[in-house]
Symmetry: C4
Subunit: 328 residues, 4 copies
């Protein structure tokens, strides 16, 4: 039953959810002006800009480096590596190239590349020894650079490990949600599969329907938790179809595609599970907007037996559906 | 009571399970053609092949390297190490062996092993200095190689740590499940022990019975969650016997061994616990197929007191059972 | 209903909380003499001093190094680095500078800085080779120093990774709690926002009201769990306003600002959530004291639509409120 | 009410526990011969020996290295370091000392320490270069040794990090449990404090009473979960007193100290909490045996206000109690 709580928001925990639907907090406050823009992006991030906080406090460098794509990460590493070595090379030039043993006399470009390579040999702790510090100043700078090197690569080690070991379940969602026949009536459905070969167990699903409603000439976002036939499964070998039956208590009851467009409807999805290879809980958020809903359809089974009797799961078919005639 | 939900799948969370049995989701959709093949392998993986996804997206390299056996991991490390050094050795030869200080003149094999060892000394950052880069080109390549080295071994550090620190509870299951006397009737039982000396606490068990049933000439997989006398224990010092009493509500009620074979019955098991040495939750899945069930048996106690009064747990006896006469 | 349990403390788990309020344990035992001092600091630590335990047992060095500010951490690293190298330099001088190849004869300061730089080159494993150990004693010491170096920087790697990867949700709380209109009555409110751009999901809130009450001339701390309209939310895109309605069952019912001062009232807050970038549960404690409560106020919306239709969240406005006239 | 379930064991989860007591599983099967020996040691380990499993399968090397005391860990590192270098030194001697540049001719001890130091300089990647490989054989061995070195120290890095980052809540339990006055009757009590300065939140307690009972001349271990006035707290600033009221339903009801001795009674304790500095759940098991119970006592408050108004927690006083006269 879709409980309407006057001015009161209440969301119960995963473990206390009853099958009951509720209107949720009005606090999220997405601007009612932003009709048409989605609240939650497909990749699970929100369409929000944060101001009024020191940039580097709010957006930790570490989290950015963890989330950056690999090509950018490596580019950054190379740029920082070259930059730091240029800095130290200039420092050695300032001290005087003659304070480094084994350098040739020559023009300044020769001096620069010699001190640059000396810097690289120091910061990576290669230290061939063809060049070596000779004066106290060069000794101090190269000592500091070697320390910088070991700490810097310690940091890089941590970052690389962090990037790899970060649990990142790749759950593949069907691109569309569908309005499909269910028992004697209809239902809202979407489905998901595990894109990776690692095992996800003990999954939970939560779906929230958000609409933009006009009350007293003011349009306000409303949030309803919608009832699922199964909100949890233990094993997730193939695909999982999430089904919300459109009963009279459903906020979708009696709505048409045009109604959902007018309501700027969006379905926020949160999937929680335990990832076996990372040994950690993972959460996957996504959303479906009204224009991603296909009416009068039915999902087509995405798996089939192989000749050898194995089961083949075709991830490319996760979004495959067929249209059905609208029933009475 | 074994609730039969028409066309409706519902699995409740660990924390909300009632003692009630249910027929579970039909969505897993293992092919009904694969009769005889097991759904869940003994080691907890599913008999599924995934297609339609970019291989390297779906099967992350990191997870493969984590899961690979040690001998393969080390072999890979050595092969990559030799390969990368051959690559750099050829690069130095292309630049010209004379651009590396301290190399002898000689035949090309001499040149190759000298540049190979120079490469090793660079990438591992040993840098004896017997050989050292002399030209700008050699400087650039060796700088890049040293950077490759420190980053590469940073990666190896992360991988090695990841391999070791991955929680991997070694729960030893009895090879067979048994149909054993229980109170005035019979029960389905299996048992488990902690193979390691680390402590597991706060364990939970879930068992799902899967059958292949023929409805309207179409055979379909059905899933029933079965009731356990104890689905949770706090401490796990010795063995834990999981007991499902075969009450009139049990899907096993009135079934014979031949029935289970015809139904291609399989019992999917999921054990969850907290591993004290890794300080993390761990999950252990396994399964018992109809041909791994021993009828009319009773488990034999696998532990006994030592002379000193200690308790000895014999892991080898975890599957030991004795046959009993079938009661009325 | 505010249950008063005689001499009995009971706090139920997050997952079992009913909407019911309770008086909590008297066991925390904050001194009744410390009226005016807060129990829980704004940053979530308690005003407690621990004695009677070996300092280094109780306060693990690792935890201090994790929690230390970055400038202090780096300063410590540099101080330890210089200190350890001075120690080894003195050791080399004790052995005799002549046992190190490549050192010049000279005054003792020259000897010291040469052995210091040799020590640095050894401990960082740079090993230029301009200087190298010549005697057995120097060989033994430098071997031990190199081992110290690799292990020491292994430790530093771990610490740096630990500092970065430690989940540290930066939840920004409003500086004040307010007594705000709510439905037909009043409520106790405060709000919070995620200061970082990472995503927090599945949040839970718990609020405990603590008062100093005088019974039989003895003043005692009492703890009441207070009822919230919403104690959990799934998504946390913008701000979350925590609302406790002041019903007749509320321990705040009928209280004035002067009453709360006399009772030395303090509201202890614990927020729990799942941090997406660290893939872990995080807890954020804080508290509001009676003098941080603003009466007859209403929070002002801290977000607004941008010209482009995006939602702008102004973290600086999280504490913005306006005063309202006291209703009947 | 102490439910006695005939031949049936049932332990419900943390989150489902009712206040109800139950007799628990008989499956743990501690030998009835081991009367007098404790089941659970004070440090939380069980008095069990495991046989019938390959030692190195059951007792993972990693877990041993994590759990080993620091002095042993460092000793092992040094022993392995010296051993590995001796091995490589002998290998270089076998190849011939002349294949290493910069070595002196001399007696075999000179050769040995030279190849030993060369090995150290290679494995730690110091590589001064005073000595350098000259032949192909020496090049191959030193290449392999340098790879061994970087991988070995990568392993050491992981182990050191694992040792430090392993959450290890140091909960200090009172040495004795007491039978103390409570309301109009008596109760079983013990208490605990956080020995460290890190914060533990959201704690849960479970206590199981184990007795050795004689039924039909066979003595059997029985397990009862006992009811606590508070099984959970949110904050844990000072001490927490766990209280089990001895109601008529308690298995302790009507028992004397002599009864408990005869029953070989032991109370198994499991404390679960969230450790703020490690950002992880931690579990602390311990136990109290009948001879650690003090009858007719009352715990003395272990904290007091300082002159400055702070609260001082005296960890040394956690076990302080005073005797009380036995009431009617």
């Amino acid at each position: 039953m879709a409980k309407r709580l006057k001015g009161l928001s209440m969301i119960e925990p995963f473990s206390q959810q009853t099958a009951q639907q509720r209107r949720l907090s009005e606090d999220w406050g997405f601007s009612s002006k932003s009709q048409g823009k989605r609240l939650l992006n497909k990749n699970g991030s929100f369409n929000i800009k944060r101001i009024g906080s020191s940039e580097w406090n709010a957006l930790s460098l570490y989290q950015h480096l963890l989330a950056a794509p690999w090509w950018l990460f490596y580019l950054l590493v190379v740029v920082v590596f070259v930059g730091v070595n240029c800095f130290f090379a200039l420092l050695y030039l300032a001290i005087g190239i003659e304070s480094i043993n084994g350098t040739n006399t020559g023009v300044w470009t020769t001096h620069f590349y010699q001190s640059f390579f000396f810097s690289v040999q120091t910061i990576t702790t290669v230290g061939y020894g063809g060049m070596a510090p000779q004066s106290v100043a060069a000794g101090v700078v190269s000592s500091f650079e070697a320390l910088t090197g070991v700490l810097g690569f310690a940091l890089a080690t941590g970052l690389l490990y962090g990037r790899f070991s970060r649990p990142s379940a790749k759950i593949l969602f069907s691109q569309n949600a569908i309005i499909a026949p269910f028992e004697d009536g209809w239902s809202f459905q979407f489905r998901l599969a595990n894109e990776r070969s690692n095992q996800l167990v003990n999954l939970e699903a939560n779906v929230i329907m958000s609409t933009l409603e006009t009350v007293d000439n003011i349009s306000k976002r409303r949030y309803y938790q919608i009832e699922l036939t199964a909100s949890r499964i233990f094993f997730f070998p193939l695909n999982w179809t999430i089904v919300h039956p459109i009963t009279p208590e459903s906020p979708l009851h009696g709505k048409t595609a045009a109604d959902l467009e007018k309501l700027d409807a969006e379905f926020l999805v949160l999937i929680k599970g335990y990832d076996d290879s990372f040994a950690q809980e993972v959460y996957n958020p996504t959303s479906y907007k009204w224009n991603e809903i296909v009416w009068n359809a039915r999902f087509v089974t995405p798996f089939y037996p192989s000749a050898a009797g194995d089961t083949i799961m075709d991830l490319g078919a996760i979004n495959r559906y067929e249209t059905v005639g609208r029933q009475a």
